[in-house]
Assembly symmetry: C2
Homo-oligomer: 243 residues x 2
DNA sequence: CGTAAAATTGACGCTAATCAAGGTCCGTGG
DNA sequence: CCACGGACCTTGATTAGCGTCAATTTTACG
């Protein structure tokens, strides 16, 4: 248990830059949570009472629109925070957090966390940093979706996921979460048919290999070219690309 | 000058909940800035050294993509913060902030603000609140753009702008900022042609009146129906609406 | 009154959303 | 072990939506 705590302290942005004693004091106030695969940390619309730092497992963040359409907002892994942004605001959770595998997390009640932040201001600054980087990333995705076309958006989504969950395997880099066509569609603002077609095309080109719920990037570079909207003409000396 | 300071303290989320002395101490560390219409608080890509609280004027936040396409990220008015999210993070400004009229703001250097936040933790919590609400709104827009169609997105964008800059006039509610078709297009991820067509249609229906760089909503309710994707059939007993 | 920015409108074509049909994979229970 | 059902994936056909280009008009302002 102490080991785990140490791990978290090392890993997590929230506790970075705090001396060991302070870190321990903050962790002493926390509660341990375990959520089974398929369970939920919280549901959209509930009052945001608790905030979490994941230290094991993966979580899928999903938002429902009024008409019942889903949007996959993000995937989170160890070291990332859940509900941090809203809990301190007294708001409701704006989305649901589903464990896609067995998860463990430390958690604080929002009131406890507020007290801690008042006592250890560095904690609040760290919180702002976390929010800040998430904000920036969301803004990027916003810009993507409003300027790029579907194929590029999918390429970018896969590359982001590789950065987060990439795992070297024999024939490339595996995105190590269960990922359906539907999921990809919901991340990129399109539908599963388009995703399927595009992945098929890429597979024919030999850029990826994909099975049920899984994608492996073989030629990530090609996808980067697509994602960055570099037409082949712009890249010198890459004739081999066209064949 | 003291008057102005008082105003800011009252208005601004950043200083809310602080006692008068503390608020004054924080303001004492600030610098006054004045930016003429058409000038920039900062440009995308510059290191985010300064953060601002607007107390006069309107600002347009614009992001450029690699290919040079613009995205209008937001419009800000008095009481809102510029660069707060990134400055504390040591990052670069991810967008440019252009004054669309004469603007005045108080500003702090990021290092000063960090010191202040360490000294007055409530200030950090307030900062988190500001970021939090902006994050939530961005997430809404993200969801909009990935699930709604152009007409709905435009309706929603106008309704948001009305809430922020709405001003009662003779024949409805005016969006009180200079707002071209191009601007609306960049906010909603489409092009000026579509915007023009749709606004023309709405004008024919009598829902809006629009001149060069300006839009007045006459029948906001109709737009809400469109924005919320409520077909009229779903709304019971609202026959008077159709008149 | 002349100019440039802003807005309108029509025509065209492509992207991607939608619908339909069928195939594949996997866990479960007989 | 096999059969079944449900989740997941693929592919084709169709078409609405919307992006793009071109041409013209309107508006503001010096």
């Amino acid at each position: 248990m102490n080991n785990t705590h140490q791990d978290i302290v090392e890993r997590c942005f929230l506790l970075r830059g705090l001396d060991a004693d302070t870190g321990q004091a903050i962790l002493d106030e926390s509660h341990m949570r375990r959520i089974e695969a398929g369970g939920f940390f919280f549901h959209q619309g509930e009052p945001a009472e608790w905030l979490y730092i994941l230290y094991r497992g993966r979580v899928k963040l999903v938002q429902l629109t009024q008409e019942g359409e889903q949007v996959v907002v993000n995937y989170f892994g160890p070291g990332q925070g859940l509900g941090i942004i809203v809990a301190l605001n007294g708001a409701d959770y704006p989305l649901s957090a589903e464990a896609i595998e067995v998860c463990e997390a430390v958690s604080w009640h929002r009131d406890e966390m507020k007290q801690l932040m008042l006592r250890y201001p560095q904690l609040a600054l760290n919180g702002m940093n976390m929010m800040s980087s998430r904000f920036t990333r969301l803004q990027e995705r916003f810009r993507d979706i409003s300027t790029k076309r579907v194929e590029q958006r999918i390429a970018r989504a896969l590359l982001r996921l590789v950065r987060q969950f990439g795992k070297r395997v024999a024939d490339g880099v595996l995105i190590d979460i269960p990922l359906t066509r539907q999921d990809i569609a919901e991340m990129t603002g399109t539908n599963l048919y388009n995703v399927s077609r595009i992945l098929s095309k890429w597979e024919q080109e030999g850029w990826i290999v994909s099975h049920r719920k899984q994608v492996i990037l073989c030629k990530a570079h090609e996808l980067v070219v697509l994602a960055e909207d570099l037409t082949k003409d712009l890249i010198l000396g890459t004739d081999e690309v066209s064949e």
